[in-house]
Amino acid sequence: MPDFLLEIGCEEIPARMIDDALQQLGMRVGELLAREGLGLPASVRGFSTPRRLSLMASVSPGQPDVEEQVLGPSVKVAYKDGEPAPPAHAFAKKVGLSLAEVKKVTTPKGEYLAATVKKKGRTAREILADFLPKEINGISWPKNMYWRKPSERFVRPVRWLVAMLDGEVVPLEFDGIAAGKTSRGHRVIGQSQVEIPQASAYIEVLRTAKVLDAQERLIQIRKALDEATRAIPGARWREDKSLLDTVVNLTEYPSVILGNFDREFLELPAEVLVTVMRDHQKYFAVEDASGKLLPYFLAVLNTDGDPQGIIRHGHERVLRARFTDARFFWQTDQKHPLRERGEWLKHVTFQKDLGSYYEKTLRVQRLCSWLSESVRQNGMAIRPGVIHKAAYLAKTDLTTDLVKEFTELQGIVGGLYARVQQLDEDLPESTRFAIADAIYDQYKPESMEDSVPRTVEGAMLAIGDKADSIAGMFALGIIPSGSRDPFALRRQANGIVKTIAEKKLPLLLTEVLFAAREAYRGSEAEKKFSAKVDFNGAVQDFFRERLEFYLRDVLGFKYDVVNAVLAAGADDVVDAAARAEAVSKVRPSADFESISVAFKRIKNILRQASETGKQVGAGIDGNTLGESAEKDLAAMIPVTAKAVEELRQKHDYEPALVEISKLRPAVDTFFDKVMVMVEDERVRANRLALLATLLKEFSTIADFSEIVTEGK
């Protein structure tokens, strides 16, 4: 089978977009091959650098010719009195056969004329030239541009195209560029033009032009990082997957240099040093065996080496300037300690309709008092004097030069400053450190992989800050929908759920959010709130989804277990997680499964009853119970319910569920022996009441009817 090669040559594609774009292109072309009968999607292989997205595949030379049966008019219409009528002649003409060659076939609708026609398959070359431009155009980019006509968009200008089947060009055109056999090498150390003689020689030809595939670059970079670090005894480079991905996608032919910086910069906090190296300079940090930073860095170059040390010298110079800046900012920031900066927040916008960070600070302070009180009443210890102060100082680092320069360090810088500054007269050091830690952790967790705040006080502040943002935005009508979530409210809500769960905080989600909404009462911002928003309803739905996401995607509970548990309450995170845990444990037992089936049946019966207007008794009337099966079940309900309720109160969910599953024989017998929808209205209403009671009493831990049971 011929080898196919496609290379889209482009000006530098943003590193963050390359992997996804290549995958999209591979999928699209794979589907094209399958759709046109040219090959298997699995045979498509990708190749990428910042300047090219390429695909290779084995494809058939063309589609096979196929025979197709074409249906014509019905025999009734085509023949009049046994003689061919005009429709028969017309059909024969259409398919290019003589009337004698036209067959008759029997279909469910009757007898029809039919003909077998040969369809000539198209060549791979034709098909690829026709369809590939559409597939290339179909890649969706987070941000694209135009450079010729406003209607032609791509991530960056396309500068060349290679499309080949073995040694032949596939004549396709994209954005005014015709495909050929000429690729381009590395900008500086490779040839500017390289001819690809055969599609199968692509990778090797590019290698001579100093261009390597991503996988190979990754291996080369790791190896080079290891080798360079070996120069320093006992040192290792700090592993960083996302930084590796970035530098792989910034290079076509990578090498690594080891540089150093003045030891005195190590006096700056490691957080600051690492941010400068990793986020601003894309350098790897070097540390000793205990994880302490060493005055070295590793830079990944897009060239084959630095024999004279010129490049190293340049990188060292830049890093020195950056560190000098950071130290300058650190020092000037100390002239005005955080405690002086509270009022400065009046000049920093939080959100245009929600006012300044100063106003936010005061709201979060009030909300945090409420949160602490609520938690304390439920028996959790909170250190006095920490939260109030931490909430007041939390955002003051936004006014510092260091945060203005390194915005990703917000919170962290506040925490670091709070540790070294006097926050108040006579504040014991332990309190100061607790305040500093809470400020430091206020944005945690920044993702579901990130850890939650270390202390309860930090958790309160982190929850208060996020809840204030969510409540304000929701009240303004800025509610995430689909992919629209400009203020990352989902991430913040996920953070609240995770923090409550992991810190086991006795807080109800909706109460936290209602309290956050209360903190806006009487404010200027409140005048901007949307009258169209059902705040309570929107918040409830939103957090139910977030909790569902947390239980299912983060904790890994099955979706039906999560549905069952949340149907019985979605407000208490810790409790919902405990219930999900218990349900997951008892779920495999036969009794439990049977109960689930029975509850589904009960729900259906009650729904039908309600739809057909059948009355359900107000309670179970003992005198109306006739059959022994219904008497037995009725007798069991209060006993079991009492036992279950006692266990439930103690949050002993697993034994409670086991208790419920013991109802199984009685329930099974009931459905075997007793007919619910009988003619006698009184008996029927009483039996429905029995089922309704059963459902109500035993759906407090989970709604078992949500559990998916196999084959039943």
């Binding site: 530098e12 200008p157 910034l250 060239t303 340049g314 990188h315 110079r317 916008t349």
Partner: protein, 350 residues
């Protein structure tokens, strides 16, 4: 210590070399614009020239004032006013990246001895209603140029687009001369005496005094007044231009007498360039007020929107004026091209 650059160019040599390079590639060498701007993009040679269909190539040095970035001359890497060398290529040639890399050679940088990367960096100016897609060009870890394909300016979609190359001259000079402080850059070396004049000699007093002015001395009330006066005058001009548009005769002049346009005779002489200067003044006065800490939260967003409204108004009027009062060369273009140009005035989708 840098073995490869025994004779690095002085600051003024660097400028001369870049200007020569771009002049040799067909650029008009403009002089710095004489109104305070925050970036070379704001000079009319960029902001207005990128609008409309006329091709243009220009290069110029633009002193760029950013009051809030001042550091009293104490920080070796930060300046209140820095110099940009700005190149506009409209439309961008296909080999624009290669041309740019050649310009580095002209400065004395041998790429084979360095590490060069184009890293994603998109540019946006909310006050100008302008944005583009591009890169920061990194040389041995140092950002030396902002490379942008303009997509929209003054809220107008560009057709054709322009490539904008903005060289950070101080950074490049410090790199070439291998000095750690901007103020140690050799600005000029007297060929006869060998006497050196440094960047500090030339500019340190500016940095100190303007930092004091911008952060401490500028009178807030009077600066606000300046802002409001400039804004009012600019708005007044835009209103007058709009009145010209409305007052014009919408009926096409009969083609019989050789006229095909519905033009207004006064449009061509209307001082939109004057209006744009006023808009630039507003932008700079806003920056001073901001540095002075005089803009409250509620005001800030609003004031940016006010400057933006001026910039967008001028851009749209400018496109209209160019169409109404075309230059000789545009006269010869086929009618279809003009139809197309008209569509540019439509508000851009963001």
């Amino acid at each position: 210590m840098n073995q490869t650059k025994p004779n690095p160019p002085t600051f003024q040599d660097l400028i001369l070399r870049l200007q020569t390079f771009w002049a040799d590639r067909g650029c008009v060498l403009q002089q710095p614009y004489d109104v305070e701007v925050g970036a070379g993009t704001m000079a009319p040679e960029t902001f207005l020239r990128v609008l409309g269909p006329q091709p243009y190539k220009v290069a110029y040095v633009q002193p760029s004032r950013r009051p809030a970035d001042g550091r009293y001359g104490e920080n070796p890497n930060r300046l209140f006013k820095h110099l940009q060398l700005q190149v506009i290529l409209k439309p961008p040639p296909e080999n624009v990246q290669e041309l740019y890399l050649e310009s580095l050679g002209a400065m004395g940088i041998d790429l084979r001895q360095h590490d060069i990367k184009f890293e994603e960096d998109n540019w946006e100016s909310p006050t100008l209603g302008a944005w583009g897609i591009g890169w920061q060009v990194m040389l041995d870890g140092l950002e030396i140029t902002q490379f942008t394909y303009f997509q929209q300016c003054g809220g107008v979609d560009l057709d054709p687009i322009s490539a904008e190359l903005t060289y950070g001259l101080e950074r490049i000079a410090a790199f070439l001369q291998d000095v750690d402080s901007i103020y140690d850059i050799v600005w000029a070396r007297d060929p006869e005496t060998g006497r050196v004049t440094t960047y500090g000699d030339v500019r340190l007093a500016d940095e100190l005094q303007f930092s004091v002015y911008n952060f401490e001395a500028a009178d807030v009330e009077r600066t606000w007044k300046h802002f409001e006066l400039c804004e009012a005058e600019c708005k007044g001009l835009l209103e007058k231009y709009a009145a010209l548009e409305k007052g014009q005769n919408p009926r096409p002049v009969s083609p019989k007498n050789g006229e095909t346009r519905t033009g207004h005779p006064d449009k061509k002489r209307f001082p939109l360039l004057g209006a744009y200067d006023l808009c630039l003044k507003c932008s700079h006065l806003f920056n001073i007020l901001d540095a002075r800490g005089a803009i409250s939260v509620t005001e800030r967003v609003g004031v940016i929107a006010r400057v933006r409204a001026l910039a967008v108004g001028i851009a749209k009027a400018w496109v209209d004026q160019q169409r109404e009062a075309p230059t000789e060369s545009e006269d010869e273009e086929p009618a279809g091209r003009k139809e197309k140009a008209k569509k540019e005035v439509a508000p851009a989708v963001s």
